[in-house]
């Protein structure tokens, strides 16, 4: 019993060590040339451009819901003038980074895990290694750099569209003054709040690409073989990303800000 528990614990620790080393290598090869610029741009298009519409759609509805809920709650205290700051702060500090990260995980992260996973099980990754090429530079680094570029930008788009969604409901539907909505927002939302959102989105992006690339790269080693292995790796990548994003969000909010 104790031996079994020890073996499981050692196995987990080993896996965590490999995952940590994977992140270190991803950082290392991202800053040490050569970088495959065309592949980075291709991934920027894949992660960034293709997620934009969904980010705008979810951002708009998130802002509209906040507009409704915020107005109804604030009106009870006669504070409906603070709807702008409530929507702005909620989106910029929390909902924007977290919702954007969830959308990107679902749209791009899962696809990246599946793509690398299929390359692993069909020996395409081995083929790269045998050509004397570094698989990290071809498969991990371009995704890593693209995510660092895209994630804060996508979050910014989410925030802006969300604030516009809140404006539509609060101002156009429920009658809050446009001047009050934006004026109070400008008074209560400062640069530190915006930076908090950017730092969060950047760190969420790193978490997503770390987990998704790792799960794909080690398909067949940690998640079984064949199509089932790729399927398991993709599910694990999405679930693990979601959990780590929320845990890291709590850590950042409580400790760093």
């Amino acid at each position: 019993m104790i031996r079994k528990l020890g073996a499981v614990t050692l196995g987990r620790l080993r896996k965590m060590g490999i995952m940590g080393l994977f992140l270190f290598k991803a950082f290392f090869y991202s800053v040490v040339p050569p970088v495959k610029v065309m592949r980075v741009l291709k991934q920027v298009h894949f992660i960034g451009f293709q997620s934009t519409m969904v980010i705008m759609l979810t951002g708009c509805f998130a802002g509209m819901v906040l507009g409704f809920q915020g107005y109804n709650s604030l009106r009870q205290f006669g504070s409906d003038a603070f709807l702008g700051p409530a929507v702005g702060l909620a989106l910029i500090k929390e909902l924007g980074p977290v919702f954007s990260a969830f959308v990107v995980t679902g749209m791009a992260g899962s696809a990246i895990t599946a793509e690398i996973g299929i390359m692993r099980i069909s020996e395409q990754v081995d083929a790269l290694e045998l050509m004397g090429l570094n698989p990290y530079r071809y498969l991990v680094v371009p995704n890593f750099l693209a995510m660092i570029v895209c994630m804060p930008l996508l979050t910014a788009i989410f925030d802006v569209v969300g604030i516009f969604g809140g404006y539509l409901i609060g101002v156009k539907l429920l009658g809050v003054s446009a001047g009050v909505y934006f004026g109070e927002m400008a008074a209560y939302v400062d640069m530190a709040d915006v930076m908090e959102g950017i730092y969060k989105s950047l760190s969420f992006g790193i978490i997503i690409i770390w987990v998704c690339c790792f799960k794909g790269y080690y398909t067949g080693i940690f998640t079984g073989f064949g199509a089932e292995g790729v399927s398991k790796a993709t599910i694990q990548a999405v679930v693990m990303s979601f959990v780590l994003i929320l845990v890291w969000d709590y850590f950042m909010t409580s400790v760093l800000f």
């Binding site: 390359m119 020996e123 395409q124 081995d126 083929a127 290694e129 045998l130 050509m131 004397g132």
Partner: protein, 238 residues
């Protein structure tokens, strides 16, 4: 050129290789035969350093593959070509892009020369006209040919073939073996061919080694092999 010495490898307590020893001279083509799951492909992956042995060694020109790291391992691997069982073509690239890929990434040739060499290699394996097809658009035999063209385009000194004829009809299988023979005559590489194509492969190799229960059970020229009386060898050779 390649020396395998007392190689042991286990997976989850299952000992696949139990002390394999084999020497391959420069320019020699060796057929590696044996039952399914006996460790032939595992042995090939040790030769090229994709797997590390539990004990024993694989040396290539005196360099122990399991001890090499980083640039030294990459440098030695550049002397290898590897034909994977499933081809391992990059499925998001066309046949031409697959064959040109190592040239683009590992040489400083102009795009014109890359194109010329890739097209010549594609022609050598009989795939002219399929340059712009994707792996999903061509047959299994054509995938093997394209993979062969990609592995040969850098003029490797050592070629490893992992079941090059598996899954192909007899005619296509023979064509692939003849193609390997023609490439060997043209490039004079050293090669290991893992195969079940018996006795067809005997025509193109200088030596045959049979793995059974994790060891080399029999080894010799094709002629010697046909005269072995060991029951397991006879059952396999027929």
């Amino acid at each position: 050129m390649i020396s395998i010495d007392d190689l042991h490898k286990s997976f989850d307590g299952n000992e696949v290789l139990r002390g394999i020893s084999l020497d391959i001279k420069k320019g020699e083509v060796v057929a590696l035969i044996g039952g399914s799951g006996c460790g032939k492909s595992v042995l090939l992956k040790h030769v090229v350093g994709l797997m590390k042995p539990d004990s024993g060694s694989v040396t290539v020109d005196g360099k122990d593959m399991s001890m090499l790291r980083g640039g030294a391992l990459t440098g030695l691997r550049e002397r290898f070509g590897f034909l994977f069982q499933g081809g391992a073509l990059f499925d998001s690239m066309t046949v031409f892009e697959n064959v040109a890929f190592p040239l683009k990434e590992k040489t400083k040739l102009s795009s014109h020369l890359v194109r010329e060499r890739a097209f010549r290699e594609i022609e050598n394996v009989g795939l002219s006209g399929s340059e712009y097809k994707y792996p999903s658009q061509i047959s299994g035999g054509m995938i093997k040919r394209a993979a062969l063209a990609r592995s040969l385009v850098m003029d490797p000194e050592i070629m490893l073939f992992d079941e090059p004829t598996t899954g192909l009809d007899p005619v296509t299988g023979d064509a692939i073996l003849n193609l390997i023979d023609a490439c060997h005559k043209r490039l004079s590489f050293t090669a290991i061919v893992v195969t079940h194509e018996i006795p067809g492969v005997f025509d193109i190799v200088q030596k045959v080694a049979m793995i059974h229960e994790g060891i080399i059970l029999a080894e010799g020229t094709p002629e010697e092999f046909m005269s072995f009386t060991e029951p397991v060898v006879r059952a396999f050779v027929g």
